[in-house]
């Protein structure tokens, strides 16, 4: 069994950033594990621009963004293995892997960074009635077909869900000659970033149908059409609003799920809302020395934020490996209160030193000109004015540990003002 100080699972943007940062922090005995044949993760198929404005202060495409880190991995001589699948992780940080080249290999890690990313919700997760013909794909699968393999998935298309990948694919397919007839969104507001509504739909006159969903899929061998309908404010289908749209392809962009089978199998406590691990402010899970970052922890809006979280995870793993931890005195639970869907971190561990802690959160619905507040024992300890709060956009608020009393703090939208 090989003993490794830090094993990073996943060679996408989170894992790449974590590996580079850990190496720069002086951790030399690192191993990065990736199941695909190359590093870069999902960035390889995200050929559009708009990445890197926050992190690199320049606009890059997905492959360019990945390249910045892959070059660095080579320059820093960080060991990595591709085509290597992690089969399981034990609570004592034993990692069992399998690869064609080396077969069954077992590693013992001192610390682990989980960076496995996320996957798309499939048709089964949203239970659309109808037949089961070919031509129903997730937006990301269609993206891989078009951008990596060079295939066009169909000629006429309806997209269900207005997540960013769905919006990007609406534009991409249009440029490749596919007629995108509509993007339907169940919610009364779009799921993706405003800029993508603008540059992917409005630029190409693709209709965005809010409060609409697909209620049936037609076709035996191949999709021949879908029936869409309007939903009311309680998400009930309005019967007389049904209309059929002829198409041969249905793309689904209905959300992402952190890929956490390894995490939950090793007994780490999970958050039911984020579908990621529950962590403290050092991104440490319920197992000491195991950290999580990027989309495996919670789904991010931007790869730039994933990179930043990867860097943070590496810094905390370095602190752990160097035994220079701020000793924990008390654990505080962070609760998503009024109007807030989830918070991250879910815990704050108060140590001997005072800290400023950033709490990330998403709202449940759209709010304008509202304050986000953090309360403990009915006292407001932090307040942040938001011009616009949207479920599609992650927000943050700062708290100081010295302001916290009691053992629970609540993050909520102040709906009184």
């Amino acid at each position: 069994m090989k003993l490794i100080d830090l094993i990073i699972i996943g060679g996408g943007p989170a894992g790449l950033a974590a590996a580079c940062q850990a190496k720069e922090n002086g951790i030399n005995n690192i191993l990065l594990l990736e199941r695909e044949n190359v590093l870069g993760g999902i960035l390889k198929q995200c050929i559009h621009n708009g990445f890197g404005l926050q992190y690199f202060q320049k606009e890059l495409t997905g492959p360019e963004y990945a390249n910045e880190f892959i070059e660095k991995i080579h320059k820093l001589k960080i060991p990595y293995k591709v085509n290597t699948m992690v089969l399981s992780i034990q609570p004592n940080k034993t990692i069992i892997t399998s690869s064609k080249e080396e077969g069954y290999v077992v590693y013992q890690a001192k610390s682990i960074i989980l960076a496995m990313g996320c996957r798309e919700r499939p048709r089964g997760a949203i239970r659309i009635p109808g037949t089961n013909p070919s031509g129903i794909l997730t937006a990301g699968t269609a993206q891989k077909f078009v951008n990596i393999d060079g295939y066009i998935p169909g000629e006429t298309c309806v997209i269900l869900g207005s997540g960013d990948i769905g919006l990007i694919m609406a534009r991409r397919l249009t440029l490749e000659g596919v007629k995108v007839k509509a993007v339907c969104e169940f919610q009364p507001y779009p799921g993706g970033l405003s800029r993508n509504i603008e540059q992917c739909l409005i630029d190409y006159n693709i209709p965005l149908m809010l409060s609409h969903t697909v209620v049936a899929i037609h076709g035996k061998k191949r999709v021949t059409g879908v029936t869409i309908a309007k939903v009311d404010e309680h998400f009930n289908i309005i019967e007389n609003s049904k209309q059929e749209i002829a198409c041969d392809t249905l793309l689904l962009s209905v959300g992402l799920i952190p890929e956490n089978e390894l995490t939950s199998q090793m007994g780490i406590k999970m958050d039911q809302v984020t579908s990621g691990a529950m962590v403290n402010q050092t991104l440490e899970t319920s197992i000491k020395g195991v950290f999580a970052c990027g989309n495996v922890l919670h789904v991010h809006d931007l790869v730039d934020y994933v990179t930043m979280e990867g860097n943070r995870a590496a810094n905390y793993a370095t602190t752990y490996l160097n035994n220079s931890k701020n000793l924990m005195k008390k654990r505080i639970t962070v609760i998503a209160d009024k109007g807030i869907r989830y918070v991250m971190p879910q815990y704050i561990d108060i140590g001997e030193k005072n800290e400023k802690i950033t709490i990330y959160f998403r709202s449940k619905e759209i709010y304008r000109e509202k304050n986000t507040i953090v309360k403990c024992q009915k006292k407001i300890i932090s307040r942040h004015k938001n011009l616009r709060l949207m479920p599609a956009e992650m927000e943050k608020i700062l708290v100081k540990t010295e302001d916290i009393s009691g053992d629970t703090i609540y993050v909520g939208v102040d709906t009184n003002d």
Partner: protein, 122 residues
């Protein structure tokens, strides 16, 4: 006239109020940074976008090579540019940033590779 505009320069997506008269830009409100003003001015005078796509590769470890225009191009020219991109076929190896087609928009923008690909036939 005043038009609502969502800035696409960064993910912040500022909802700006842009004042204009026909093709003349007058001013902008509710933009967080100066890039918003630049975008709004362009959007009124002549809207521009970076075009990204893929081209076929011969002999590479990639089947399709991702490409982009190295500058934003006029929005009306996007489909002409896509047609030109369809015609491009490259032979590996290609380095990231290699120019594959110069002056693709007749206005100084080049088509460049956004990834490298090695030759696997040698």
């Amino acid at each position: 006239m005043i038009r609502k505009m969502t800035c696409i320069v960064c993910p912040r997506g500022c909802e700006m109020d842009v004042e204009y008269e026909k093709n003349t830009f007058i001013g902008v409100l509710n933009n967080f940074c100066s890039k918003g003003e630049e975008y709004a001015r362009d959007e009124i005078i002549s809207p521009k976008r970076v075009v990204t796509s893929t081209v076929k590769v011969i002999g590479g470890d990639l089947l399709m090579l991702p490409v982009k225009t190295d500058k934003p191009v006029n929005k009306e020219k996007i489909f002409d540019i896509i047609k030109k991109i369809y015609q491009v076929k490259v032979t590996a190896p290609i380095e990231i940033n290699d120019v594959l087609l110069s002056n693709i928009d007749d206005n100084g923008a080049n088509l460049v590779a956004t990834s490298s690909t090695i030759n696997i036939t040698k």
